[in-house]
Symmetry: C2
Subunit: 350 residues, 2 copies
């Protein structure tokens, strides 16, 4: 049977002032009609039964989660509330163990809830190919074919194509953190590098076996979980790290399937651009906005009228209680603004 | 006796969204603590008794006028509500006639209500010198010594210094509309040119006599005013033009006294800058604002938090129902925005 773990515990402050502490990116709709997490849920719906879908999230987000997902969409879906955010490894490990305990042959798809994916048929096709490869024992990641020398993403370097595999499946050589522009350009020129989209597919049994191999203490902790009290104890002791670092970078069972759907991890306001409709002057405008002679701006109006005059390459975001005007090339530094707000005790706006 | 006519009927849309149809510039406080018109009233208070001060304004502004002036400051002050705005000549002419009818030796100071003047002692000194010159029959204008080749102001070219005058008083040769940059530079280089601040001082008798000389039909209309009905009839027939064009540019009784107080007609958001406090990065910030790495911006926050990141030379103005982000070099075009709002029927925000 196929299961799905949706990771929805991310914090993220780069979409401030639209995103807030209790409303991180995954709960935002942007202009998509529904929130990123609602889109994620809809995207995996054809792959797993509702009862086999787990949403792992922070308990502080419980209210926001319920308010941005329709009751009919989540009936049957299981929620796993993390006691404290401890990165992705503990949630995935605990849920994998839980699923394995009731289904020894379980196949699991892990995916983030705060990414943007278009052309869902291509996504589903990629996942189905991944599921077939996972059935034969591989831990599969979907690697996005890079569109350019992007420095905001992690990369995965592939090695040989695996012989005998029905699918186009490559051995993974290396996970690479966000590179310099120079390095990113080399990757693109060289070929065989893919963007790490954080999507993994594996048999529960295989992942647990790999955890045993690369981190016996974590495996022992998982074995010891029999109910809530033992989970609570284990939770604070499991390695607080990413699944990438804890397992994927260490196992030799990892393989990659190239995927070509339009994708972004939405790391900043700027990264949203390719998914938005622009006018002939390159501006992204919302309905409560009016412009004269601006170019390449994002005019993210709220309830009030937002008027722009003679601007270039800016991002403007209006909300009820806070307003951001930001140079586009500083979009990555919006997180610094949130730090400043904390320092200067603007608690209401964090 | 000295009288004062404060002109407060101006429309002006260059401070949108802070200024609105029913709240033009003269009613704005900016950061000065009190509105421009309240400042004007305070500035002329040492020169004329309350009962001798007239405020000429549009009837649509009656409410705003009362709300931005304190009851004790306007007790005794006379209000002249213009039936329709018809530029400055009709108000000045009608009020001058009215004052003359009860005081044949009246001296009148005319001044705008929407300019910014600092160092009021210099202003008062200039006016007192002007009053003395006006007593001997001159129509005096205070010319501001130009600080640079500004293209946003009208200029006055002076001729010979008048002999025998106690004051530094120059014959006026020419009124010049807002010049090109090239011309403005020539004026500064040449010397003898002053900024036209719209401040005039004259004997009521002298101005009426000059009106008779340069525009007999207007003079006849003034003579015919005996009460409200005849005023109403005359109002729509008096030349709807500026006092400059109707009289000052045509009379040979006009003389200029140089004045050196810091002055601006506040023609745009940009012109406000010299009167505001800047931080070390050249930014004008209000209390509800927070910046990281911007230079030379105006961050005019309203009730909400205004955050700026990595900006240069921008003006941002936040109000309850509308928000403007504008390149500083386009500040003059804010009036075009108001036109656009009319066209696109954003009635609430005009």
């Amino acid at each position: 049977m196929t299961y799905c773990i949706i990771l929805a515990g991310g914090v993220g402050s780069r979409f401030w002032p639209l995103s807030r502490y209790n409303k991180p990116k995954q709960f935002l709709k942007f202009s998509f009609g529904k929130s990123l997490i609602a889109q994620t849920l809809a995207r995996v719906a054809p792959l797993a039964k509702k009862e086999n879908i787990y949403i792992a999230t922070n308990k502080d987000y419980a209210r926001e989660l319920k308010s941005c997902l329709k009751a009919k969409d989540i009936s049957g879906v299981k929620f796993f509330y993390e006691a404290q955010g401890r990165n992705t490894f503990p949630s995935i490990a605990v849920l994998t163990k839980r699923i394995y305990d009731s289904d020894k042959d379980a196949l699991i798809l892990v995916c983030p809830s705060d990414h943007c994916i278009e052309q869902e048929n291509k996504f589903l096709k990629g996942i189905r190919r991944g599921l077939r490869a996972a059935e034969s024992g591989w831990i599969v990641t979907l690697g996005v074919v890079p569109l350019g020398a992007e420095t905001g993403y992690g990369y995965i370097q592939t090695g040989v194509r695996l012989k005998g595999a029905q699918e186009e499946l490559f051995k993974v050589r290396k996970f690479i953190e966000k590179p310099s522009l120079e390095k990113a350009r080399k990757f693109i020129k060289h070929g065989g590098y893919y963007w790490n989209a954080g999507i993994f597919i594996f048999r529960a049994r295989v992942l647990l076996e790999e955890i045993r191999k690369v981190s016996l203490p974590d495996y022992r902790l998982l074995e010891g979980i029999t109910g809530e009290p033992s989970l609570k104890r284990a939770w604070t002791r499991l390695s607080a790290t990413s699944i990438d670092y804890a397992v994927m970078e260490k196992t030799d069972k990892i393989a990659l399937i190239p995927a070509e759907f339009p994708w972004s991890d939405l790391g900043s306001w700027k990264s949203l651009e390719p998914f938005m409709k622009k006018d002939i002057k390159g501006n992204i405008m919302r309905k409560n906005s009016l412009d004269l002679d601006s170019r390449n701006i994002v005019s993210w109006s709220g309830k009030r009228l937002l008027v722009t005059l003679g601007l270039n390459d800016l991002i403007i975001v209006d909300t009820d209680d806070a307003l951001l005007v930001c140079s586009k090339d500083r979009a990555q530094d919006v997180k610094k603004i949130v730090e400043l707000l904390k320092q200067q005790k603007f608690h209401a706006q964090i």
